[in-house]
Symmetry: C2
Subunit: 345 residues, 2 copies
């Protein structure tokens, strides 16, 4: 049997499958002793967890791109941690790592999982821990490969991105600008819109809460929309479909407006615009590009170092706030990449 | 002024824009004298007109891939005719041509239109006049380029096509079989299903009128659907979306189930299956491939000659039947490519 440490591990587990938004009643809080790692394994102390819209999908029963979180299991989450005990020569105590840590204070990672999961060391000189969950992490990779591989932007094209101030959106917009595109964001509220225009250099941003997205698209995309990076689905997707150009590409990355639905998902009624415009709508799942993350991270790190890319994270402290903090994603309250800080080093 | 011939031309004009299905009240019938062609022009006697689902879209106001038919104008249609008078060295009296003839007995085609419209001579030794409106015509070209260029089938993949017994569907299914795919049709009624399986060699066909399309897909596409060629939209598109494979391609060619809607088009509620499956939905408009028609026609003519491709046309005689004959497309009554025969040579 493994040796038990003196540490105790607070965990957040999925207690029941939510109907609509997940409430505190869908979660249970447990405390367990922490064991020393086995041969080849490591013990990681969780510092920051990435909170992402996709997590809502993992709570549902049924087949998706990864299996659902089982009832009673610690909620799945990726994050940044510090190695505090290691039986693996690739990781030393004190190393900072990006790994599937789940919503808990300590994560014991067996050798098999290290081999399988793409756990990797991060260099805090390249980016801060929270940047490693944002532009240098899964959202950044999603934005990068979604835009570049699926969208294939050409200089001079018009790129529209929804959830523009979110983790994926800020990456997409900034890369598109760096590639010479006209970039128009869609976000909720004046503060987010101002930020993506003034700080990130988007050409314009449409405040969907203030009103007419269609009029905004007409004004800010006078030549139409060549690429639409969709994080939200619903009415906004339908509206953008009326403004696409011949040969447009729509990247389906998410549909946050639909994830808490208790009614059926609203399909894009204007999908026949794909026919009229010989346009394409295509899904992206970031894991497919895992072998190319290093190349994308290097490119993004170069932009960060040169000051040509910025990032914003919305950091909330405290494991116990997880249920409420997660909801910020779905009511649009987060401003920047949402991160749960679990410990201060 | 042009010389007037002794002929008189019966025409069908769009009298008003239909709401829902076009009824006889939406059409007007006119009779006009026929002029001799001007310099470089030809006069063509209409023999056969192609009746296509897309015609319903042309009757609506508003931007689409081609302008709408104006109120009072002769209804737009492509067809096969015989040149009866020519001032153009490229066309001799007696030549059979494929051209935009419109719903009328005679069509005077000025030189400018000949240059612009891709009017071309057909060889009745290669295929019959009605085959030139079917597998050798626009439906055949649509099926060919939609499947081959947008769908990019690989041998061993499973291809599903709706409207399987229709003009586009029969072409798509037969080409997919010739390319080594498993082919499953979706059609309305046992007779059509039997025909595509027994005569055209599809592996299976699901009768959507008889019941459960989802169960049919499970049974006949055990490895899922790699390519779906969609002619119908609506519930069938949504059902197929639940059965697609990773990297699937959905070709949006039409949505005949939605064309007569007086309520909004039903968008595909299951479109997030594109995300989960990293799949793609893309529109096709055949005109984009005009410079490659000769190559595709040559390939199809080869199949016809070798007996490895069959075609079926549903020919109705009489210009005056146009309003009712067109409706056969929308209630699923046509069996094979719907053709209106206007004259017997």
């Amino acid at each position: 049997m493994s040796t038990i440490t003196s540490l105790s591990n607070h965990q957040v587990r999925l207690a029941s499958r939510p109907v609509g938004p997940a409430t505190r009643a869908n979660w249970s809080f447990t405390t367990e002793p922490v064991a020393e790692p086995g041969p080849g394994g490591v013990l990681v102390k969780t510092l920051y967890l990435s909170l992402d819209p996709a997590m809502r999908g993992w709570m549902n029963e049924g087949k998706s791109y990864i299996p659902p979180v089982e009832i009673g299991a610690v909620m799945r989450a990726g994050g940044i941690g510090r190695v505090i005990s290691s039986n693996n020569p690739a990781f030393a105590v004190g190393d900072h790592v990006n790994a599937g840590l789940d919503v808990q204070e300590y994560c014991l990672i067996p050798e098999a999982q290290i081999k399988r999961s793409g756990m990797f060391k991060i260099d805090l000189r390249v980016g801060s821990a929270t940047q490693w969950l944002n532009v240098l992490g899964m959202p950044g990779m999603t934005g990068y490969f979604g835009l570049m591989d699926v969208g294939q932007p050409k200089a001079g094209e018009t790129v529209v991105v929804s959830g523009a101030a979110g983790a994926v959106g800020q990456t997409v917009g900034q890369i598109a600008k760096l590639k010479g595109c006209r970039v128009v964001g869609i976000a909720g509220g004046q503060a987010k819109c101002d930020w993506v225009v003034k700080e990130l250099g988007f050409d314009a941003c449409i405040d969907y809460k203030a009103g007419d997205v269609k009029a905004g698209l007409k004004e800010h995309c006078p030549k139409g929309v060549d690429i639409y990076f969709d994080n939200v689905g619903g009415e906004i997707l339908d509206t953008v479909l009326t403004r696409i150009t011949r040969g447009a590409r729509i990247i389906i990355c998410g549909a946050i407006s639909q994830y808490n639905n208790t009614t059926p998902v609203k399909g894009p009624a204007n999908y026949l615009s794909l026919l009229v415009n010989r346009a394409r709508m295509e899904g992206i799942v970031v894991f497919d590009y895992a072998d190319r993350y290093p190349q994308a991270i290097a490119e993004m790190a170069g932009y960060l170092k040169a000051g040509s890319m910025k990032s914003k994270e919305d950091v909330v402290f405290g494991l116990e706030t997880f249920p409420e903090t997660l909801l910020k994603l779905f009511n649009g309250e987060n401003f920047g990449k949402l991160v749960l800080q679990v410990a201060k080093e």
